[in-house]
């Protein structure tokens, strides 16, 4: 017959194994999510970039020539 102490140990062992598995699965999921988002992040920019260039466009925002605010004494040095 199991005493309270044994049950407690078994419960703890069982519980800690589950927790380990859970943490492993969680860790793996998080890592793959981070990896996926990182690779999406790193790939999205050049692809977008290159697509725009292929289409002969500047990859950033383009303002029309008439909008140029030609300042006397530019704000940048040099």
């Amino acid at each position: 017959m199991e005493n309270a102490h044994t049950v407690n140990i078994r419960y703890m062992e069982f519980g800690s194994m589950d927790r380990r598995k859970f943490l492993k699965v969680l860790g793996a999921t998080l890592l793959s999510a981070i990896f996926a988002s990182l690779s999406t992040f790193t790939h999205a920019l050049p692809n977008k970039f290159v697509l725009a260039v292929k289409l002969g466009k500047y990859p950033g925002k383009i303002k029309s020539f008439n909008e140029i605010p030609i300042r006397k004494m530019g704000k940048w040095l040099g």
């Binding site: 970039f49 500047y58 383009i62 303002k63 030609i70 300042r71 006397k72 530019g74 940048w76 040099g78």
Partner: protein
């Protein structure tokens, strides 16, 4: 297919869909494309003294052009908001070389300066604008760190009239640690520009504790004097905490004056202090008779007595371009 960019000494090997270190030269299906060609992000009219060019058509207006990106990544960059960004993040205007020339003429600018970031990375645009400008009698100026390969620089020099090159220090370690570059290509560029008969002035930004010791300043001045000549104007510029170097204090006025004194003692003929107003260190004196020839305040010329490129008192020939044409 990978491509190698041969424009600057970094020689980036770029995979398809990726850009070089400058962020703007992209491998598109095996073809190298400068994405900022025809897309300047800054267009302004500046006094030529702002470049700084003190011996080239004083008090004339210059049309300044820049695109985003740079091949150097100086931790102290003062224009980092455009130089250290990707084109994706900075808006630009669509302007062909012809439109740049037209707008310069419309604003009565005698010269176009390729500046703010580095014309090395918008080389093709600079070259095409320069060729158009020459046809219309407009002068071409570059304000650059001089980090070019020799072949493209020699090609560009055919159309250039003046250059202000930023010689950051006479130390390869400084270039590697602070600028993500190397010293030798810059020195080669300075010699190439001078020997191509392009008017040359040099700027040296003094960073406290990084390149402002007597030895640093002396070495730089000696190299300039021996390799380019004592007549090349030298601008010691004041640093203000910027970008990734906010930990340093601004350069003290004493340090700037010490640098000027060292340069003069070593025989440099025209030495100026920049980025400082009110210290009376921006005036030009005749190297022979020591009389004041040009009086400046900030970016503006208040008095200029240079006549036909000579000192009116002793007829000493003053280095520079004094007449348009």
């Amino acid at each position: 297919m990978k491509v190698q960019c041969e424009l600057c000494p970094k020689h980036c090997i770029i995979a398809s869909g990726q850009s070089g270190d400058c962020r703007i030269r992209v491998n598109v299906d095996g073809k190298l494309v400068a994405v900022t060609y025809g897309y300047p992000c800054s267009l302004h009219i500046d006094p030529i003294e702002k470049k700084p060019l003190f011996h080239f058509l004083p008090s004339s207006k210059v049309f300044s052009v820049a695109t985003v990106g740079c091949n150097l990544h100086c931790k102290n960059c003062q224009n980092w908001e455009i130089s250290q960004q990707s084109p994706v993040d900075v808006s630009a205007y669509k302007a062909s070389p012809k439109q740049i020339i037209d707008i310069s003429k419309k604003n009565k600018c005698k010269a176009i300066a390729y500046t703010y970031t580095d014309p090395a990375v918008f080389y093709e645009y600079t070259l095409d604008c320069s060729m158009e400008a020459v046809k219309k009698g407009i002068k071409n100026i570059i304000v650059s760190a001089g980090y070019f390969n020799q072949k493209p620089l020699r090609e560009l020099c055919k159309y250039l009239d003046a250059a202000n090159i930023d010689l950051k220090a006479l130390s390869d370690r400084f270039y590697r640690d602070v600028c993500d570059a190397t010293l030798k290509p810059v020195l080669d560029s300075l010699i190439t520009i001078k020997s191509a008969d392009v008017h040359l002035e040099i700027t040296n930004l003094l960073l406290p504790t990084m390149n402002d010791s007597d030895k640093d300043i002396r070495n730089l001045c000696k190299w300039v004097k021996e390799n380019l000549g004592p007549e090349v104007p030298l601008h010691f510029s004041r640093f203000y905490p910027q970008y990734r170097m906010k930990n340093l204090p601004p350069t003290s006025i004493e340090t700037l004056k010490r640098a000027r004194d060292i340069a003069k003692d070593l025989g440099m003929q025209y030495v100026y202090i920049g980025n400082v107003i009110g210290e009376n260190c921006e005036n030009t004196f005749c190297p022979r008779c020591k009389k004041e020839l040009i009086q400046r305040h900030g970016y503006f010329v208040e008095k200029n007595v240079v006549k036909n490129g000579e000192c009116p008192y002793c007829k000493y020939k003053i280095y520079g371009v004094w007449k348009y044409g």
